[in-house]
Symmetry: C2
Subunit: 214 residues, 2 copies
Amino acid sequence: MAVTSSTPETYERLRAAILSGSLEPNERLVEADLVRSLEASRGAVRGAIARLDHEGLVVHERNRGAKVRRVSLEEAVEILEARAALEGIGAREAARRADPDAIARLRAVLARMRTRLADGDLLATSELNGELHARILRIAHHATVERLVESLSSQLVRYQYRTILIPGRAGASLAEHAAILDALEMRDGDAAEAAMRAHLDRVTDALRTAGDGR
Amino acid sequence: MAVTSSTPETYERLRAAILSGSLEPNERLVEADLVRSLEASRGAVRGAIARLDHEGLVVHERNRGAKVRRVSLEEAVEILEARAALEGIGAREAARRADPDAIARLRAVLARMRTRLADGDLLATSELNGELHARILRIAHHATVERLVESLSSQLVRYQYRTILIPGRAGASLAEHAAILDALEMRDGDAAEAAMRAHLDRVTDALRTAGDGR
DNA sequence: GGCGGCAGCATTATCAACAATCCAGCCAAC
DNA sequence: GTTGGCTGGATTGTTGATAATGCTGCCGCC
């Protein structure tokens, strides 16, 4: 055993640990500890930290080590605004490329969302929400936008369950998603972009009213 | 002296070397050489390469080292599309915040652009173009968008002088910029975003017709 | 002439030891 | 009681050595 994992592998694991919440915001990332828990070489850990620092998930101060970055509400709003712009482009492109088959699969996800919501399972609803967005982006076939959105979204993990808890928000979200799918189905790029932007603008509003929660 | 520079410093220097073109696309980045030329420790060089890899300026293959990444025309178009969306947001925000003083400074840059173009100095014109965009983004006060656009733009260095060489393109660009400034002056966010998007869409068209040039 | 294998070289990845730095706690002086 | 400086421990940053890997050129064989 003791297979020391390579840098990209270490990066993925550390990233997953942060996103899953098993490493709390502001928690210090001590290299020696990570070497043990991630079973990687120290060099790999350092490389992973450098990447995550660059990505914005971690802050690294010279001679003082790294810690999980805590994004403020203001930053979260900024990030969502950027995401809205990018996903808008993604939706536009997806409208150009979406075939009936793809649309059907998207509708299936939406339907599952609807039933989960009816069950009161907000957590599952929120996860399906993420899946829907990811699928649309996949259809868009736009590597740059996909990569950027993925990076931005990862910084919002701590806020992702917050908006859906607002009374009435989940239902509204469902309707907004339906509007997006309608635009995709009609292959109307302008409408798809507008619907996606509108949706994420509503999410932003919701986030603002929800507050930063701690 | 021979003060070994720290990781962020090394990152900046290496990045600058790539952007300035003193390191060609596909050129191998040999760690030992960089240690000498950048006067940094090996760890710092490795960290810098990891960041640049993550950023997309460099490709790194395990056990085979890193080389300057060559972005294809298709990628350049993608990147420009993403930039258009983000700078659109930036322009919208800038319209909200721009005071007459800031507008005046932007107009001054545009005026300089006009005279440079009249002189036939396309290189200077292109640089002022970059400055204008950067200033607008600065006014927007949107750290996330600014960071992302900076990162995206850096990947387009090899294409930045290409579009302006197209006959008539420089003049059109000037008019498009003027339209953006008009919208900012009227503090019309919608118009500013639309003008910025339109401008960058034109740049994309120009890039497509210019071809990848090698 | 072309192809597969082999050896040597160049380079990267890892490891371990060392140096530099920072931080917490303590103590003394005011 | 508070402030200032010191000291020990913990942690990161750097360096040299070593292992692993990939590549290139050569040679013999077909």
